[in-house]
């Protein structure tokens, strides 16, 4: 996978002139469920064409932050602006992929129908989908390597193929901001490679991406900023500055060094306050 990393490193991306607008801005932001804050006093900014990785264990607050950004959870305190507005006002510009898809096995629905749903926010109740939409849908399916599964029922697909389908749905939206919660969970090596390419294409298009991930080597390394979370902000900055043994230790608890790479052994925090081991 190293060759891949080299081929799509940030520096080699075509230098498209992207307006220097801020898509996402958090000021003293507190997030949480039903007014109980999980993480308080967050400050960060995400500009057009940038990628932002959230790293942390289960229960560290990654999903809570992503859900707050897309407007599924209310802001507990502080300010969060999405495209200059409070969250939940820009359905046409935001694509979201949650962590759980509960109904995949029940619905009589084909893979292409799932991907087409990615176009719904742009068309509302009424507007007809045209040839242009069909082309985008097909191209998203090709990008994720599932163009041969167009007519397959979703419930007949493997977990990895379903995950590719959900990713194709997000890509089909052609949104300005992609909010992805563990997008590569369940993907095989081929799927991950396609995903990394797709993300790179989205960034070149000028879209921004914020994603929760466990992958500190490939996905996080691709990002402009990385935030380590353990029910507080452990570190925030460029990947090379942030992904350090000490910071990872605070975030995950246990870190094993070997093969010139840092391996993270994940331990579950539960919902108690995190204490460095």
């Amino acid at each position: 996978m190293n060759s891949l990393n080299n081929s799509i490193e940030r520096s080699t991306r075509p230098s498209v002139t992207i307006e220097n607008t801020t898509y996402l801005k958090a000021e003293n932001l507190s997030i949480g469920y039903s007014h109980q804050s999980v993480i308080s006093d967050m400050n960060f900014e995400l500009k057009a064409g940038e990628a932002f990785a959230l790293i942390g264990t289960n229960g560290s607050g990654k999903s809570t932050l992503l859900k707050t950004i897309v407007g599924l959870l209310p802001v507990v305190a502080g300010r969060l602006s999405v495209f200059g507005q409070p969250p939940g006002n820009n359905h046409r510009r935001i694509a979201y992929m949650g962590q759980f898809h509960h109904s995949g096995f029940v619905l009589p629905i084909r893979a292409i129908d799932v991907v087409r749903m990615g176009r719904f926010p742009l068309h509302g109740l009424w507007k007809q989908m045209g040839k242009h939409d069909d082309e985008i849908v097909m191209s998203a399916m090709r990008t994720m390597g599932i163009e041969k599964l167009v007519d397959s029922p979703l419930r007949s697909l493997s977990g990895g193929q379903q995950q590719r389908t959900y990713l194709a749905q997000v890509l089909a939206h052609q949104a300005d901001l992609l909010v992805l919660d563990e997008p590569t969970s369940g993907l095989d090596a081929g799927g991950r490679e396609l995903y990394l390419h797709a993300i790179n294409d989205e960034l070149c298009r000028g879209a921004s991406i914020i994603m929760a991930t466990h992958d500190i080597h490939e996905e996080a390394a691709l990002c402009h900023q990385v935030m380590l979370l353990a029910r507080k902000v452990v570190a925030l900055g460029a990947p090379k500055d942030v992904i350090t043994p000490d910071a990872l230790l605070t975030t995950f608890g246990i870190v094993v060094a070997g093969e010139q790479k840092l391996h993270v052994l994940e331990c579950l925090h539960g919902h108690d306050d995190q204490k460095p081991v």
């Binding site: 979201y96 949650g98 109904s103 029940v106 129908d113 749903m117 509302g124 109740l125 029922p153």
Partner: protein, 283 residues
Amino acid sequence: MDWLLTPFTTNSFMVQALVAGILVSIACAIAGTFIILRGLAFIGDALAHGVLPGIAVAILVGFPGILGAAIGAAFMIGGITLITQRSRLSSDTAIGLLFVGMLSLGVVIVSRSASFSGDLTRILFGEILGISVQSILIQLAATIVIIAIAFICLRPFLLLSFDPEQAEVAGFSVRLYHNIMLFMIAITVIVSFQTVGTLLVFGLLIAPAGAGALLAKRIQAMMAWAILFGILSMYSGLLISYHFDLAAGSSIILMAISLFFIVFILQNLRQRRTSRSEEASHE
């Protein structure tokens, strides 16, 4: 051939029953599809029985039963929402609670009526063979409303069935469209009770759409199958009840349930055969 057609060519009440039945089948197929996709079967069941006290009161005081059914349904939905929001109980507990309560209340009220068993049977099993033209027209209007709702709300309903969070982020309010869906189910139940009765309307909501879900790859196809199975059970149920002098409503539901199990068994046999032939081809 005579056996299949004469009941309908010689009796106008059979034609009226069939027309009403077809309209009910279409309404139930559409509402039933979303009941199954959204996992709302229990709420559909509760609505079908929760309308009973409303109808009973309406009969006692001489109001149209349909009005009482509407009030009963509104009470049921309101009660479920209230208990779910104001307590830590899950919605199925709330539904179960109200369901049994409303059913008992209905029976208690009907027991004050002079023709107790007659009224109760009529409410529970409908009177499709004595359906009036006016009732057919009301059923027609309701079926049109249900088709319109499903057509207009297809995208949010799809998203809601797929993943409610996805619907919300896409700009379709989950609360709004969930309530519209409940409203659609309620209309179906309220209007259909006259033809097949409150007890049996639930069977028509679930069985044809369930069989459709087994066969279809797409939601539109599932609906089409459900309509087909619904109409088929209507026709065959009426025919059997005519020739063998059986209760019409129950015959129709038995046909619908039988069709479901026939599809289910055939589907399983076919799957077993394909997996066996796959195994054979691997060897």
